[in-house]
């Protein structure tokens, strides 16, 4: 397997999927999928609808338990540990954060609270400490707020100060997507899973998202696995691209390599003798 494009920096794998399979009854959603994401690497997952892209995210984050195979996540100093079958909140605490394709914000909470809620795993104060305003509770509250303001300011004017106290439902669609990313960053992840971050955005916003992904990687040192249909985003942000179809990895490598791969063309366009001949 040659990637054609070396990931920058330390190439230690953060995430390893090892012959991962998942079946729903007779339907094989994923079969024997191998995938690696290294530190500070942006990997895109592409594929037609129903290819199993979101299912991969759901297995990694513990929503589904794999039928076979393993998911290993590199806890920074120690060796990689298996996280298959763990509860979602445990996996999130280990350092994997995600966004959702169908937005899942805490709609009736304010923008700032949405982000601060994600600091739960990183804080320890018990309810009585919060009520009595004991030192630990006050310090954690201050830190949570500072972290929330920091990740929100990542988006500049888009999620600027006056919006912080508004309920999340008052945000526009694009801003809801941004808020989901901010909320995920507030869990202090080492691996960020973005499920179609550019869906429903106009061309200018799509361009912004592409730059944002690189920025998150560079400034926060996070490895990113991203599902995206918009090929401008995929081409613009990925170190490596993985193509799935029917739960099987059909191609992997640099963007140009994968985009022109005959199996990928076939998965998207269907089989056509002349196209296949042309690609070869």
């Amino acid at each position: 397997m040659s990637t054609g494009h070396e990931p920058p920096g330390d190439a230690r794998p953060v995430l390893e999927l090892d012959r991962l399979s998942l079946s729903f009854g007779g339907l094989r959603a994923l079969s024997e999928l191998d995938l690696q994401v290294s530190e500070r690497e942006v990997v895109s997952v592409i594929g037609p609808n129903g290819a199993g892209k979101t299912t991969v995210f759901n297995v990694i984050t513990g929503v589904y338990e794999p039928s076979a195979g393993d998911v290993r996540f590199g806890a920074h100093p120690g060796p990689a540990q298996s996280i298959a079958g763990q509860s979602p909140h445990v996996i999130a605490r280990l350092g994997i954060a995600r966004t959702f394709q169908t937005l899942r914000l805490f709609m009736n909470m304010s923008v700032l609270e949405n982000v601060m809620a994600a600091t739960y795993g990183g804080t320890r104060a018990m309810p009585w400490e919060s009520v009595l305003r004991l030192p630990r509770a006050r310090r954690e509250e201050r830190e949570a707020r500072a972290l929330a303001e920091e990740v929100l300011s990542f988006f500049g004017q888009r999620l600027a100060g006056y919006r912080w106290d508004q309920p999340a439902y008052s945000l526009s669609y694009a801003n809801r997507r941004r808020l989901e990313i901010a909320r995920a960053l507030a869990t202090r992840p080492r691996l960020l899973l973005l499920d179609e971050p550019a869906a429903g955005m106009n061309p200018a916003e799509t361009h912004e998202v592409t730059e944002l992904i690189g920025q998150i990687r560079d400034e926060r040192g996070v490895a990113i696995l991203v599902i995206e249909h918009d090929m401008h985003v995929v081409a613009g942000c990925s170190d490596r691209v993985v193509a799935l179809d029917h739960g099987i990895k059909i191609a992997e490598g640099g963007f140009d390599q994968v985009a022109n791969h005959p199996a990928v063309v076939e998965a998207y366009m269907g089989r056509h003798p002349e196209d296949l001949a042309g690609a070869e």
Partner: protein, 481 residues
């Protein structure tokens, strides 16, 4: 998808959000008072409300009124506790009243001659923590099997558990729990040489306890724990993906709610000096929910206000025909004033209704004076004003029958009113109002036990139409996923 299909909030920019925010306030001067209240901050607001509550007995509140106040404060405390479970964690708990009963029975056993040779008579500073910790454990025990249940399933399972408590106290260990006869001669609250023996003292205690509980919950609401509760209500899957242990957070909400309910139970038992299984049955649960919904689910101040309003109306005003009538006519007039526009239409409907009444009375009187010999049940100035307007047959038997028939016709008219539009609705409104007053005077006013249920129902219906988020609640969007 997560887009709210009806609201104007979708794709909202700053302006739309501000408009939505403006509409969160009550109309006219009430809204201005609300805004002024928000400017001074939450704890001075709560302190002012508490001091006003403490001043009430000084204004001459006594006897029956004081008892109504005490009952209202107990229900308010329960509603504030229920708000944790239902309003914040989003768990529809219909067994909540069992924790209230547990607190009351727990206090009763620890402060009476029921257990042991000489009974147990613990001071309050010892019995309260024991009962509250017990309730928290019971809350966890109930929550443990229920934590994976959602929505309807959770509601029905907890309803069973609530009923199980009533059956338990009715049937198990009658020598200790007293069966249907309950536990009597419970000690008053006593600690550090002080004993609370008067209703005034319990009123003061309840006001203080309610204010302190509300302050504690306010501090909890915007803390790590409160945010986790609300996040779990909004979206459990997203909450789990954001490091929140969903099941544990749900259990902690159950336990906290149970502790507040048990606290209310101990004061209730001590003030009543007796507890019976029927005190903790479904009717109390309905009142707590009515208060919470009226005040606004999710709002601490709303839960307390709503419960106080419901209980004062239900227990205080609706027991005496005169006060119930003022409420009935006042609410009716208010609804017309708010809903009928333009003013010309309002004046027309009111004028026509008044004219219809006098005309009908004059005609009926001309035919046979006995038909109008009854006179309205409503006493006082209001009754005098209605005397020559409303027809009430002299024979009580006839009045009752006429009232029953009138009730059925009234419902038909109300249904017809919804079906027609425009001018016909205005015309139909006149006889409907008159018939409603007729049914009220001949039938409903004499049946306070039924009437007050109907009235609370009517108030909730009006609330649902005028202000679905409740008196002080925040508007919420429901997200179908």
């Amino acid at each position: 998808m997560s887009i709210d299909p009806q609201g104007p909030k979708v794709g909202a920019d700053e302006w739309v959000a501000r408009q939505a925010h403006r509409r969160e306030y009550l109309p006219s001067w009430l809204g201005r008072a609300q805004q002024a209240g928000e400017r001074i901050g939450w704890w001075p607001r709560l302190a002012i409300a508490g001091l006003a509550g403490l001043a009430l007995p000084l204004l001459g509140l006594g006897g029956f009124q004081l008892q109504v106040g005490i009952d209202a404060l107990v229900i308010a405390l329960l509603a504030v506790g229920l708000n944790i479970v239902v309003g914040w964690a989003g768990l529809l708990d219909l067994g909540y009243v069992a924790f209230f009963g547990f607190g009351a029975y727990g206090y009763a056993l620890l402060s009476s001659s029921q257990l042991g040779a000489n009974g147990i008579h613990l001071p309050y500073w010892l019995s309260l923590p024991i009962v509250m910790i017990g309730a928290a454990i019971l809350g966890l025990a109930v929550g443990l099997p229920s934590r994976r249940l959602l929505g309807d399933y959770l509601a029905i399972v907890t309803l069973f558990l609530g009923e199980a408590f009533v059956e338990f106290t009715n049937n198990v260990a009658p020598s200790k729990l007293g069966g249907p006869n309950g536990i009597t001669s419970i000690d008053p609250i006593h600690a550090f040489g002080v004993s609370l023996n008067t209703n005034e003292s319990y009123f003061y205690l309840l006001v203080i306890v309610l204010v302190v509980t509300m302050a504690v919950l306010r501090l909890l609401e915007y803390s790590r724990t409160g945010r986790a509760w609300r996040a779990v209500r909004e979206d459990p899957l997203a909450a789990a993906a954001m490091t929140i242990p969903v099941n544990r957070v749900k259990l902690s909400a159950f336990a906290c709610g149970a502790m507040v309910a048990a606290l209310a139970g101990t004061i209730f038992a001590a003030q009543q000096a007796s507890v019976f299984p029927t005190d903790f049955d479904t009717p109390i649960l309905i009142l707590i929910y009515a208060g919470l919904i009226l005040g606004g689910i999710g709002s601490i101040a709303g839960a307390a206000t709503g419960a106080l309003v419901v209980m004062v109306i239900y227990d205080g005003l609706l027991r005496s025909p005169a006060e119930a009538s003022i409420l009935f006519y006042g609410l009716g007039l208010l609804t017309l004033l708010v809903k009928l526009r333009p003013w010309r239409r309002l004046a027309l409907v009111l004028g026509a209704t008044i004219a219809l009444g006098f005309a009908a009375y004059a005609i009926a009187n001309a035919i046979s004076p006995s038909v109008v010999a009854g006179g309205p049940q409503t006493a006082g100035v209001l009754g005098d004003g209605l005397r020559d307007w409303i027809i009430v047959p002299g024979n009580p038997q006839t009045a009752q029958t006429a009232g029953n028939i009138g009730f059925v016709v009234l419902i038909c008219l109300a249904v017809a009113l919804v079906q027609v539009k425009g001018r016909w609705r205005t015309i139909l409104l006149v006889p409907t109002i008159y018939l409603a007053a007729f049914v009220w005077e001949t039938r409903l006013v004499n049946e306070p036990s039924i009437t007050r249920q109907l009235m609370i129902g009517a108030i909730l219906i009006v609330m649902m139409i005028a202000r679905p988020q409740g008196l002080l609640g925040q508007r919420r969007v429901e997200v179908a996923t």
